[in-house]
Amino acid sequence: MPNMSPTKVPVEEQAPLVRNKNFLEVSLSYMPEQAVEEARRCLNCKNKPCVAGCPVNIHIPEFISRVAAGDFKGAYEVISETNALPCVSGRVCPQENQCEERCVRGVKGEAVAIGRLERFVADWYLKNVSAMPVKPQSNGIKVAVVGSGPAGLTCASDLAKKGYQVTVFEAFHTAGGVLVYGIPEFRLPKAIVQSEVDKLKALGVELELDVVVGRTITIDELIEEGYKAVFVGSGAGLPMFMGIEGESLAGVYSANEYLTRVNLMKAYLDDHDTPLRQSKAVAVVGGGNVAMDAARCAKRMGAEKVYLLYRRGEEEMPARREEVNHAKEEEIDFRLLANPVRLLGNEKGQVCQIECVRMRLQAPDESGRRSPKEVPGSNFFLPVDTVIMALGTSPNPLIRATTPGLETNRKGCLVVNEETMATTREGIYAGGDAVTGAATVILAMGAGKKAAQAMDEYLSAN
């Protein structure tokens, strides 16, 4: 008999006013008995609507039924058949718009906590089973993966499992891409990313750090070096700015810079050398997950006041609801329907004030979107010593500029065949934010997976 409770088994979290002063994880994992109880809420539907909602098609009811039976190792094996990074996706996936959105239990009450269960299983495995994957028999075919973010890691993992000799090239000194420079420790501990990377190495994948493809070596040179196919997962790293006055004052960061200083360069640890502004009052501009991450990092770095400025309303925020709620609980001061128009500096050229204008939403247009419009004469000022622009990112032009024949669209995203992720150059595939522009970790993983499949077919045929 399934557990018919209409709500998810709650998960423990650090208290908001405690956690907003540390970088430890916000949400804790289920205990085994909690996981079993939650797993028993799954009705094991025959048509599995949840699986269709998952970009990497995890066999969700199968893994959950194993959790319900207390077979956590078996559950992990089911997940890892299709998902190369379960510890990651269990934490950062927007399940509410994917698997859980389609869960039948969600019709009357809350969906099964698929994300929490995935995380539980992955964490349990990491803690209790030390076995590393076994390196498959090599087929001797060299494949290059550019970028070690979620798309690249997934693609590399799938290809390595098929016996390819995979080398991953990473521009930074640490593998993981956005998982290490962008998403903060309190949402995704870096030790967990490292454990996923270690699994990849055990599969025989080689990692070449500190290599900027497009500068240190070009894709064509990789092909000359004997790589028979290349996957480009170089992400969407180029930060956008508003183009308003004062944006280059000292103390104005892109979210990428701020988060990289905090996460990758570990500015929150005393023994690391990378400096960060010791801010008292911070304004973060934007309404996505990255804006939430930046605001919550700024609070943890000791800022007394952190404003979050967004030109639309809370309903329109692209950030996950959970992240918005977490940010509010942590005393981030949301100033919605407000848009910066100018940044003002002091005599040292450092930002000291942000001038904003109030916005109101217009009636929905044909696409149903309510665009914001300035309210004339409603300008107001906030005293700040730091401004973080979290307005989105676009793909880095380095690879398209140095690889003849790679077509991009108007936004600079690589053009691919959506079925195979093949680019306009034979043997070169791409996926993740480099193709879609800034999107989610799991979509990037899905693309890496799809590309690995197509690359295998291509390489087998040639």
């Binding site: 521009a171 290599v211 240190t216 944006e247 000292a250 892109s254 990428n256 400096p275 050229g349």
Partner: protein
């Protein structure tokens, strides 16, 4: 990880290191830079490539021991390793088409970067005048080297303790007033020096290329830390530069952006002494 294969102290605060980095050596061109990170706790610091040897697979950097990371870098010896060394980054220097007469100006440690420019131009048969400026005699570097690759070489010191007394801009003004006509000027040195070189050349409309040194993290266009305003537009020095048309650069903004962590640098210095001591102790043991 790269290994140090040669080291030379050019003056009490400026050091040359040559490292084994074949991939970078194969690609490097004048004007490009690398980013290094010493160890797991280290910052990422950009340094312009001073020289490279494609056959030996080595790259040389010349740096002044000013902050924590360069102090620690300067403490390393031949055979030691640097954890991360990535490049070549940025775009190579581009000179105006058909430039035949060029004045290369270096200020202080900036001479380390001006020198390979002068050398490359000289080798191409371009007529090269070099003006090198230093605070005083004891920090003069690359004098002989500059002499060998220039048609005319002018050495200036602020205090007159060596060469001619005066600033590089005094000499430049004098040369241009005296009828020297340049197709381009390349200026590499402290921000105020580059700013005033540009002010000097502007009335003569001589294209002036400056090599900027903003703060950076990734060096691939990802963080925007290195943004500079050039001709009213925001550019990223790491991917669009580091060389820019000096007449278009907002030097004052660059100066204030580079000063943003100055207060923290004092703190860093304290910690750095501790780490240097630790390194020293480790060496003795």
């Amino acid at each position: 990880m790269v290994k140090i294969v040669a080291k030379k102290e050019l003056n009490p605060t400026v050091t040359l290191l040559t490292v084994d980095a074949p991939r970078i050596a194969r690609k490097a061109q004048a004007g490009q830079f690398i980013i290094f990170r010493l160890d797991e706790q280290g910052e990422r610091i950009p340094l312009t490539i001073a020289d490279y040897d494609r056959e030996q697979g080595t790259v040389s950097i010349i740096f002044q021991k000013v902050g924590l990371s360069t102090q620690l870098l300067g403490a390393l010896e031949i055979g030691d390793t640097i954890l991360d060394f990535v490049g070549p980054l940025g775009v190579p220097t581009e000179l105006p088409q058909g430039a035949r007469r060029i004045c290369v100006i270096g200020g202080g440690v900036g001479c380390a970067i001006a020198f390979p420019q002068a050398m490359a131009l000289h080798a191409k048969g371009v007529q090269v005048d070099v003006i090198a400026g230093f605070r005083s005699k004891d920090i003069v570097i690359l004098e002989e080297e500059f002499n060998a690759v220039s048609d005319r070489f002018f050495l200036m010191t602020d205090d007159g303790s060596y060469g001619e007394k005066g600033l590089v801009t005094n000499k430049l003004q004098e040369l241009m007033d005296g009828g020297s006509r340049y197709d381009a000027v390349i200026a590499i040195g402290p921000i105020p020096m580059m700013k005033f070189v540009c002010k000097t050349t502007e009335p003569y409309q001589v294209p002036t290329i400056v090599s900027l040194n903003p703060l950076m993290i990734d060096g691939t266009g990802m963080c925007g830390c290195c943004r500079v305003t050039v001709g009213g537009k925001v550019r990223f020095a790491c991917v669009d530069g580091p060389d820019f048309d000096g007449h278009q650069v907002d030097f004052d903004e660059l100066m204030s952006r580079n000063a943003v962590y100055r207060e923290q640098e004092a703190e860093q210095k304290e910690r750095h002494t501790c780490r240097l001591e630790q390194l020293g102790k480790a060496l003795i043991q």
